[in-house]
């Protein structure tokens, strides 16, 4: 048995989610190899070689993989992946984009967003926005899997000494090209790996009022998230959405401000260790999952919270 993990990276930094995926690979068992596909991604390969428990790093450094276009990347991963028992990547937007293509090219099912490994062919995953947890068994020869990072404790980023091997094959499907990217810039921690997250909902009323949350976040070293309603209303950009169809977070502390607690929002944060809700409606469903609930007007409570930190 051998597991191929496709690294999550931006050509310069290995994303921490990869460490959670390697943890899932360890639970499956067998040799673990990492594929780094990108352009000018040597530093990522070096970082991957240091990850604990990895035996080999394959590097496909070529312009065709520079923007992780799914059409190109999936051809590479399918070509390499057929020689492994399992192919894994994190269930971020890149993995969700290319991995199902890999599965289709290999004519196998994909098991999406696993949160637990039962055995080499049996995995646990949430369905219905996390309102049910399914255990599924795959009968395919190659198991193609995306991993929900919050389901697995990261392996150590250091301590390994894998060999690094270049992969020459460069696939250009010739059907797509990259045009542009607008990436959110922030000095705050990344939402999906932050230890503390403070999120705002429709109750925030507008984008300017999120400033209150940024101030609290900066004092706590927290990331800032949002409900879909806040994103839809244009208060904040889409990359801040937490939930079934946004980002999944499981920090030590999650503070929901002016968020009612719809099932789709809960799906993205109910695995947080401690949940705080600040809402003026004491009947709001968010209080059913909150460890500490404060029934208050957020425009009073949030500035007071900031001052008392």
């Amino acid at each position: 048995m051998s597991v191929l993990v496709i690294a999550d990276h931006d050509n310069s930094v290995l994303k921490p989610a990869t460490l959670n995926v390697v943890a899932a690979a360890q639970q499956i068992g067998g040799d673990i190899e990492i594929l780094v596909a990108g352009e000018g991604c040597g530093a990522v390969a070096e970082a991957a070689a240091k990850v604990a428990g990895v035996s080999k790093v394959l590097v496909a450094d070529n312009a065709v993989y520079g923007h992780a276009l799914a059409e190109n990347l999936s051809l590479l991963v399918a070509e390499l992946g057929k020689n492994y028992s399992h192919v894994l990547t994190s269930a971020g937007t890149t993995g969700k984009d290319f991995m199902p293509r890999v599965a289709a090219l290999l004519d196998v099912a994909q098991v999406s967003d696993i949160i637990k490994v039962e055995s080499a062919d049996t995995f646990v995953r949430p369905i219905y926005a996390g309102n049910a947890i399914a255990t599924v068994k795959s009968s395919d020869s190659v198991k193609v899997i995306t991993v929900r990072p919050t389901g697995f404790d990261a392996v150590a980023a250091e301590g390994g000494s894998a060999s690094v091997e270049a992969v020459a094959s460069a696939h250009d499907a010739g059907v797509s090209s990259f045009v542009k990217e607008e990436l959110a810039k922030s000095d705050r921690p990344e939402l999906t790996s932050a230890g503390i997250v403070i999120s705002g909902g429709r109750g925030m009323q507008n984008g300017d009022n999120f400033e209150m949350l940024y101030k609290v976040a900066d004092k706590l070293g927290a990331a800032v998230g949002a409900s879909r309603a806040a994103v839809d209303a244009g208060f904040v950009p889409n990359d801040m959405q937490v939930g079934q169809t946004g980002k999944i977070v499981a920090p030590q502390l999650y503070i929901a401000v002016g968020i009612s607690g719809a099932i789709q929002h809960l799906a993205g944060m109910s695995d947080s260790k401690v949940i705080v809700a600040i809402n003026k409606d004491e009947e709001a469903p968010i209080f059913q999952v909150a460890d500490y609930g404060l029934v208050a007007d957020l425009f009073d409570a949030v500035p007071e919270l900031e001052n008392s930190l």
């Binding site: 799914a70 984009d97 999406s112 599924v136 499907a173 797509s176 542009k180 889409n238």
Partner: protein
């Protein structure tokens, strides 16, 4: 340009599903069903392309039990021209759905195929990508903007870090994200008109596709329930609890 839209019948998004007591599945008896919300957005986008004169025909396809025809009729009431129902009582997993859709693509030869990014029942997020791979087409997943220009389509995608735009050769596959558009409601006259629009019914066997499942469900359980905690009386009490009881700040 012909546009093909795939719509799935799923549980209504407002309903909180319960797990059956024998842990074999969720209980869908007497539960309100509806069109998957992402598929509504897909239909809306196709209809808007037609209204703009970019699309000439919108064909909608659904795979599932007889009752899926309700969702096809809804799409027709929203402005699609014609429906195809691939009728089966069997469970159809994403790979099988993609293969069935590919067979329809071969027959219909659409230039653009729009799907939802994710079914809200299985939360798979796979079918559009699989269909694109099987057809050898480019894909614009999690789309928040779709612009057809000549023989290409530019798709703006919602990604973890922000937004990314790709240019795809047509034919291409697009999967919709929530902010692509806001679907309209069907008017009563349009609901009446939709009843007369053509709807073909075929079977997976007609398309020569093996839909045998690759994944089997061992069990389905309810998630661990969180205990509702305490209400605190003030911000000061909250900060004290977070520092000294939960020890998270």
């Amino acid at each position: 340009m012909k546009v093909l839209v795939a719509v799935k019948r799923v549980i209504d998004y407002n309903v909180k599903v319960r797990v059956k007591s024998d842990n074999t599945d969720v209980d869908l008896t007497n539960i309100k069903m509806a069109m998957n919300p992402f598929c509504e957005i897909a239909v809306e986008e196709a209809v808007r392309l037609k209204e703009k004169g970019v699309a000439t025909e919108v064909v909608v396809v659904s795979i599932g039990p007889k009752a899926s025809q309700e969702q096809i009729r809804t799409a027709l009431a929203l402005g699609a021209d014609r429906g195809i129902h691939i009728e089966t009582e069997e469970q159809v997993q994403s790979l099988a759905a993609a293969k069935l859709l590919k067979a329809v693509v071969e027959k219909e030869q659409p230039q653009l195929i729009i799907l939802g990014k994710q079914s809200i029942d299985t939360d798979n997020n796979q079918t559009g990508q699989m269909l694109a791979a099987l057809c050898g087409y480019g894909q614009g997943t999690f789309a928040s903007e779709v612009v057809v220009e000549g023989d290409k389509v530019n798709v703006t995608r919602e990604i973890d870090g922000g937004l990314a735009t790709v240019s795809l050769n047509l034919p291409a596959v697009v999967t919709t994200d929530l902010r692509l558009n806001e679907p309209r409601y069907a008017s009563l006259p349009n609901i009446m008109k939709a009843k007369k629009k053509p709807l073909d019914i075929i079977s997976p066997a007609d398309l020569g596709v093996d839909i045998a499942p690759r994944l089997s469900t061992v069990k389905v359980e309810a998630p661990a329930q969180r205990q509702a905690g305490v209400k605190v009386g003030s911000v000061a009490e909250l900060v004290d609890k977070l520092k000294n009881e939960a020890k998270v700040i």
